[in-house]
Amino acid sequence: MLAKKLRILADAAKYDASCSSSGAPKRVAGKGELGSTTGAGICHAYTPDGRCISLLKILLTNYCLFDCAYCVNRRSSNVQRAAFTVEEVVTLTVEFYKRNYIEGLFLSSGIIKSPDHTMELLTRVAKSLRRDHGFRGYIHLKSIPEASPWLVEEAGLYADRLSINVELPTEASLERLAPEKNGAVIQNAMQQIGARIIEAKAEKRRFSPAGQSTQVIVGADATTDEALIRKSAHLYGSFNLKRVYYSAFSPIPDGSTILPLKPPPLQREHRLYQGDWLLRYYAFTPDDVADATENGMFALDVDPKLAWALKHRDRFPIDVNVADREMLLRVPGLGARAVDKIVRARRHTRLRLDDVARLTSALKRARPFLIAADYHPSGGLTDRLDLRARLADPPKQLSLF
């Protein structure tokens, strides 16, 4: 019986891309306690889709009052339904955790009875884990934006991370595909969580210490990559978000008639993550990232950083022995870590091409764009017309096998 519920409610939860157990302050179990957090999180297994299993990611129930077209659990869907009790979720979490299967729990739910009722149940699970079982592992709760604000206040006391899914990037899409949802309500709830996280940090109290994250569905409407990235920049800026997850809309059993027929290529999702990283770790402005697109879309054959560099060849090649950090970060093939190593090493030595090769695993991509002590991209390599073709990913089918 429990096994059947587990199958239904894990299946129902798997379209949420986030499974990360990162960002919580490091802690270990005290006497009589169970669980710890590591900071970066641990992936305990990988499924054949290449995605990591870090948390027990399940729904409390997949009965739902809402009718969001993209969602497998929408009210009008014909999927099988099930509901866990609070105690069942607690037991599964603790027993899985004891066997080292998981880092903790990621609990979400369909809306049953009312948003408040649902939010109370989610919080009760977290509270019971912390109080009754001395559980110190990771807890991620999906917050219900329509729930009363004081319930969110309580959830943040037990959860490591709270998240609210934006799901659709524009108000128009929300109205068309998720009629019960309301963009303003979602934003208010994110605002509340964001403000409380900042206050708690300043006051050294515990409130969702691993921050808040959200998910946007890619390809269920006509929103461009550029618009998605600008939306993310806004979310990072305004709500102090830790992560935006991009989830390529995936065909679901019993799909709705108002959805597009074909899912977007998974490569598009990958490019969005790369664009997002440029924003967060590579000092690109949203305009810079937009500049890496063509008609608002990232190319599928080259990554956004390379696309930007190919467009701005006049800024290259740059000298690894003198260029400042920000410019080094713009060199395709040099990651943020490689750049830090370059900056540190060149204080003691003049870097030759062999040295750079030891600092990055993508020298082939970087070569045309840099100068080293013994190397200059000769014959105008940087300006070659076929440079894009030489550096592009070989065409491959990423979506299936």
């Binding site: 587990l6 199958r7 239904i8 894990a10 299946d11 798997k14 179990a29 006497k31 169970l34 710890s36 590591t38 992936c43 305990h44 297994a45 990988y46 499924t47 054949p48 889709d49 290449g50 995605r51 990591c52 009052l65 809402f66 009718d67 009008s76 869907s77 014909n78 899985f96 004891k98 066997r99 080292n100 009312s114 948003p115 408040d116 009722h117 329509e146 729930a147 009363s148 004081w150 019960e180 409380r196 300043a202 006051e203 065909p251 679901i252 059993p253 019993d254 799909g255 709705s256 959805l259 998974l266 190593k341 090493a345 204080r347 003691h348 030595t349 040295d355 030891r358 299936l400 096998f401």
Partner: protein, 492 residues
Amino acid sequence: MGHESGSVPLPPAASADTGQLHPTFLGEGADLAGFRAAARRLAGDGVPPERVIWSIGEAPGLFGTEAATRAESAPPLALPRGVADLIGMVVPHRDPERYALLYALIWRILRGERRLLEVSSDPLVHRLERMRKTIARDLHKMHAFLRFRRTEESGVERFVAWFEPDHHILAAAAPFFVGRFRSLNWTILTPEASAHWDTAHLTFGPPGRREDAPSSDGFEAGWRDYYESTFNPARTNLTAMRAEMPKKYWRNMPETAAIPGLVRAAATRTQTMIEREPQKPIKRNPARAVAAMADQAPDSLEALNAIIKRSEPLVPGATQAVLGEGSPGATIAFVGEQPGDQEDRQGRPFVGPAGQLLSRALEEAGIVRADSYLTNAVKHFKFEERGKRRIHQKPTAGEVSHYRWWLERELDFVAPKLVVALGATAVLALTGKAIPITRARGPASFGKAYDGFITVHPSYLLRLPDEAKADAYAAFVADLRRVGDLAQALRA
């Protein structure tokens, strides 16, 4: 491992050189103590790396490793920070050259290249960094992929795992499991050694065998169910899976038995989903959802109070939530800071010394307390214990925000014509902003249907030095008279 041994210029073992060679013997596995002792002695004697011959596990004579024989004799080496960490991480590596590489590093650092570790492009540093990374990965994978199975020994549960790490990392990996499973009894068996935890002590023992671990566990079927259900066949990507979870780990992970079946069925499952005609929805009527959202909020002051009463204090300690008091429909509502010691004991607002002072001032100002509504911005008492006394502590901005939602709803239900903020905390709760009372004292707007008024909190008067008390009290009463007049006008 394989790819890391490579063309690093290890100094050639002395050949034509006539200098003396130094055979150095270390124990099996990760002999950190032995290496430390050897490195101290060799460096102290000025022996260059090319004169050292490192041998592992074949010590001549009695128990003759460096650790045992020469440990105390040589003084410690002064090495820059980070070097000891690197050594600790590389020593568990299986590569037989590890000690020679590390000694070469130490030698160069001591001979003037103090900041050698910063030069990640140096071939020796590069190779050692890669070895460190390998160990970090081996540790990480052990923390991730090890699976416990439950057994019972005379009613006590014990969790036992069999794991095969690539390197000599059991001792380095064990503290993670202690920090995580402190309250459990557990055992980790590896082909080289075993580790045991009894909820208080960590001990190491002889090698284990796969058969020494239980052959099954009651939760494995459920775990496999979960593994299968969380897989999305429309996204199959075996390369990504194998990169992160190499096949060599599979045999000790119960869930991986499901992989072949999942992969075989994936294409068909996806095709079925895509080809299947979208089904006619069961029903599509948002009315119920919308109604549920409208219905969920408390519909009376009593319902709201029931929620507040049930709640736990944000800062632990308070006996009970102190609810607002007075007649709903009162013209004036007074908002204070938070309950004090007396309020917390009695469960009523404004009954302690400050409350009594407020009552007196209200009376002098001609306001009937019983006809007003009194409440606090924060509903629980926060204090610090000093001896037997519980000393009040001012709520933080975050605590005020935490309780703000309730205050807002409360005032909606009471629907006063005039709300009086007593002190800075009340102002913060009503406006969301920190405003100094001295500047804002008097009529104010809180952006709501009701009028606002700001004055001091009566506890402020209690804290003033005696000579200032009389004037401040008179000013407070004067404020309350204005409040009374304003209320009179609003009532009319």
